[in-house]
Symmetry: C2
């Protein structure tokens, strides 16, 4: 570590505080890590980390000082290197997912793998697999998925781009009829792609049949120049994600052969141009569920990273001490207001990680049933995964920013690892369904489900099967809607806490039935998913005699109590809680925070985010903070010359002449 | 406007929607603008805008594509140009403040004017005014204010830098004893300053007398190179504010003459080194109050800018329409969930702007009293301005992000004007007192005030004078703590709404007295300031027969009702509200939103943020959206070549050889 003038850090060193935190706790963070992630995940992470961390192409040292064009170039080098490594080590798709987590930078080729390939896999005929999928798997063509348009976001039905069939030449003509028809935000399109799957309105025999997917070559395979009739480029700088080339594209009567319409489901007869409707594709819902399950799991890891940084730094940072009393001084993590901001977020992180795991399990069960032709769970899984995607990403994004601010002034530095990171996590609130729009679907589904269930229950006894059915049935068959919680001890009873969140969700659904308010749909979806997360948490707890149980049980209670506190009015409004419950809930949150305080550093250690991924001067596991801040500052390009570039032009005239002389001459 | 292929925008054009919104409303936005800002502000804004907007130095066209070093250089050019213009037009300090608002970019010289000059003005002896203030006013020396250290943020008493007096040579020796003593985050220090006011522990005759201010020359006035014993540089990239050179500095036994200690208050005898304590400086509290008043006003303008963009864009953006039905389709601003997110923020903006105005008035009254030797209002003003700085900046920062997300995908683009802007507003939560720490002071003050008032009230009748005293007295002398609100109509009664917020604040203070919890201090401060903001809003309303009254009265009710809804549990918990009040509050928010909906575009027009400041493809007054998005995208540096720089290295090998051949050779 470089320090100017060979200065020593203050004594005691920050790292000693982390060591103490770990020593004073009896929690086994290794064991907990295994419990959270499982052996496979940890083995994979370590294996790939060893390769990636030691490869200079993936160095994270200077990326924060670079402009966008340089960063995009580096990102492509990472793309290339990953493909080389994939070949060398025979990486699987799971390995590649893990590599993406470790490299921690989306790249121009990212969308090729995450969107272009899956679309080709799912929507091609066997002939088209040869034509497109095979070269795409070999990266002989590089692609993207072009759906969103400049004037049309979530709204597929509003797309303007057309694909008109011309039977005479057996071609489709792809055309952008207006400026707002420009495809926009398409990842990988800006600079990298040679091909695009373009969602365009199929028009044949004069009929507009709505959006369908077409493979359109966009750049020359010889020299990468845009093909005739195509205007393509990058959409410019963004809040985050600046290493991805989100692009725009416009088509001026571009012709493609008939076999470029992806024809596994819908078809156009090449001779007559007549259209064959797609068979109902319930499998595509499965894909949406899968993508959302993945988002929930990864967003848990994002929040884990933020809480890791905020917790460790707060355990080391001392404040309101005089230098003389430095040793005696307490870490800011002992301040109630800091604990109150960070520790519930640690509980939320566990909640999200366990929910990600449970959802994956449910998804796999569902897929197995689906293979037997059983689609019965599809709707509920779709509704829950939509709501959970919305809730979990909203929670994590807000939590990351809370963590950043809890780091005080240094949280504002890019060296905190929480600034650009925030911008990179943000799009999760928008892609794969805008978080507000998703809750509308979930809300409406729950209203309908509740209505149907009421009818069924009125007709005779119903046996609740799935989670939602069970808790709604309990609500419908309970006469006294009053919480059984009587004392502070009851706030540790997970069954009582589950009951409370279930009751609120059911009651909100019930009382919303008279209208159709978007605000109600949002509240219903949120309440339902907060219950599901607690439900998943409770079902992820180990046996009570397990050494890990006490901490996890407390985290579970804290997640619940904190959720209750945040929405207390919902429980008081219908008198499910009496007024005396309110101080009880508030006290429970504070008490649980106190009980968890001694273990918080091992708790975040257990998330096992590698330092290479944490990538923060404030929160890496070794507890070296201020040396890293200085080391990184010394790398700032502005510090590479003794005198800044603009001195002669902008500073010297004043210093040497004041406001009166040289300037005066110029005016 | 450039559009590729000469494409026309979709019909009807986005601008026509804004025109319609303005036509359908009877609100006179010009008149309202005058009511909000006053003639002086508007005249000044227009006068300076004409100069700045037409000066190429201040162009905002390409700044979002530039790397940090280029932007810093441009920022210095702006610094220089502003000083030229100041001289040419004889700009006052108020003019310069307005110029900063319009230029909308903090710069290397910014802290010279905002921190260095005021410190010199307030803390120098007449001799030092000649020595430092005079050349500083003339920019012959350029300075900064160096207080914060790498290891010590808000904590002045923890500062490590020392200034040891050496009577033999009549010098102070400035020294950084450790790495954490490095001054850090100092605006203007990174590249621009020639001098720094350094807060260092004064040590004389072996006694540590705590932090005092010293003027330290840091860069040569000849060639700007760092002086001997000084290590100085920029602290590196940040979440925002990247056009400011926040810097670090370390001192290795640097000697300065005796007269470099700012000696208006505390003094060291040059011969004996004996120390004279400062006289109690209540005026410095006045300065802190003034800075916070300014922050509250400016943060209102920041939220105004965000709501302007979100409101206008949502009024133009159409969704869930098919192209065929485009004309008939509704703007997303008609969706309940969009209204629910944006319209309460418009009410909050008005609330903040009026509170800024009222605070300025109170501050001027206080300063007049102070000149008569009357300090009686100091403590309350200090406590309220601390709490209001915290609450208003927290509200605005969160509101800006809500506005950004309400713009959907395009909100993520830098062209939205809401991405980098967010990063630039963020530091308001930290500087001039961390938002959480500030509430601790306010909370404790309110507890003490309440205790004292209770004793006074118990001893005999008390006549309430200031705002806080009045509402706390009413609480203490009321027996039945039950809201008089009985019907929805009462939700429009500002007196009832004021009563509710006053009651909550007083009750929270009262019930917190038994303990000393930081969480309680936070809640008390927040509740108190939410009441103050409503109080200021009500007292800013025009006469009921004024044409502006209906809209403003609704906005006032909406601010209150929305605050009630957000904190409903606080009112239900002590049964000030009965359960039946809860749906009433929720319904009132929705109803007020509906009533305000027809006027929202003129309402944000009335904020009168110049398009040059709005600087957004989504929200400028002309309603041109998608043309601007495309125009800005075409300026992206990546789009200036047909084929991207890394093609040969990273793309061609795959496209021409696939994963198998060329790559294979390399491995």
């Amino acid at each position: 570590m470089t320090t100017p003038f060979g200065l020593k850090p203050s004594e005691p060193h920050t790292s000693s505080f982390l060591i103490k935190e770990r020593e004073q706790s009896s929690l086994n963070s290794k064991q907990l890590s295994l419990y959270i992630h499982g052996e496979e995940f940890l083995e994979r992470q370590e294996r790939l980390l060893n390769i990636i961390e030691n490869d200079p192409v993936f160095s994270k040292t200077i990326r924060c000082y670079q402009g966008r064009s340089q960063r995009i170039l580096n990102a492509m080098r990472k793309d290339k290197r990953i493909l080389e490594l994939k070949r060398q080590y025979r990486w699987t798709d799971d390995d590649l997912d893990m590599a993406d987590l470790i490299v921690d930078e989306s790249r121009p080729f990212s969308l090729h793998r995450s969107m272009f390939l899956p679309t080709l896999k799912n929507q091609t005929t066997p002939e088209q697999q040869e034509l497109f999928l095979k070269p795409a798997l070999d990266y002989r063509i590089i692609g993207c998925y072009a759906q969103t348009e400049l004037g049309h976001g979530s709204n597929i039905q509003g797309l303007e781009t057309t694909a008109t069939y011309i039977p005479e030449t057996k071609e489709f003509e792809i055309h952008s009829p207006s400026l707002t028809a420009s495809k926009w935000w398409i990842g990988g399109l800006g600079i990298a792609s040679t091909h695009a799957v373009v969602m365009a309105r199929l028009i044949t025999n004069g009929k507009d049949l709505g959006p369908h997917p077409f493979v359109v070559p966009i750049r020359s395979l010889q020299d990468h120049r845009p093909l005739a009739g195509i205007k393509v480029g990058d959409v410019g700088p963004k809040f985050g994600f600046n290493t991805v080339d989100n692009g725009f594209i416009l088509f001026d009567h571009v012709r493609i052969p008939h076999n470029h319409m992806l024809a596994r489901y819908a078809k156009v007869d090449p001779k007559t141009g007549s259209y064959t409707k797609p068979v109902n594709d319930k499998l595509s819902y499965g894909t949406m569920v899968y993508v959302r399950v993945k988002i929930v799991h990864q967003i848990g890891l994002s929040l884990a990273r933020a809480t890791t940084i905020a917790t460790r730094y707060s355990a080391m940072r001392r404040q309101f001490a005089t230098p003389q009393s430095m040793k005696a001084e307490v870490p800011v993590l002992n301040y109630e207001m800091v604990q109150y901001r960070i520790i519930p977020l640690i509980a939320q992180t566990f909640a999200l990680l366990f929910t990600g795991k449970q959802m994956k399990k449910q998804y796999l069960e569902f897929m197995a049933e689906l293979k037997q032709g059983d689609f019965s769970k599809l709707k509920e899984l779709h509704a829950s995964s939509s709501g959970l995607k919305s809730l979990s990403t909203t929670m994590a994004i807000s939590g990351i920013e809370v963590c950043r601010r809890a780091c005080g002034g240094h949280g504002f530095s890019q060296f905190s690892g929480l600034a650009e990171f925030y911008g990179n996590v943000l799009p999760n609130a928008t892609w794969e369904g805008d978080n507000f729009i998703l809750t509308q679907q979930t809300g409406k589904y729950l209203q309908k489900f509740f209505r149907d269930l009421s009818s069924r229950a009125a007709a005779g006894p119903v046996q609740g099967k799935a989670t939602t059915e069970k808790y709604l049935l309990e609500y419908l068959t309970t006469s006294a809607h009053i919480s059984p919680i009587k004392s502070m001890d009851d706030m540790y009873n997970h069954q009582y806490l589950l009951k409370a969140l279930a009751h609120r969700a059911a009651r909100l659904i019930h009382s919303s039935l008279s209208g159709s308010s978007q605000i109600d749909h949002y509240r219903i979806s949120e309440a339902h998913c907060q219950y599901l997360i607690l439900h998943n948490f409770v079902h992820s707890l180990p046996e009570p005699n397990d050494a890990l149980y006490p901490s996890l049980a407390r985290l579970c209670s804290l997640y619940a109590a904190h959720t209750l506190e945040s929405h207390l009015a919902d429980f008081l409004e219908d008198e499910y809680f009496a007024p005396r419950h309110a101080p009880m809930v508030r006290a429970a949150v504070r008490e649980l925070i106190q009980e968890l305080r001694p273990d918080v550093v091992p708790l975040v250690d257990a998330f096992n985010i590698p330092d290479f991924v944490v990538s923060s001067a404030l929160g890496e596991s070794d507890g070296v903070v201020y040396e890293k801040m200085m080391e990184k500052a010394l790398l700032e390009p502005l510090n590479q010359t003794e005198v800044v570039a603009g001195y002669e032009e902008c500073i010297r005239p004043f210093v040497h002449g004041g406001m009166g002389s040289e300037l005066n001459v110029r005016l």
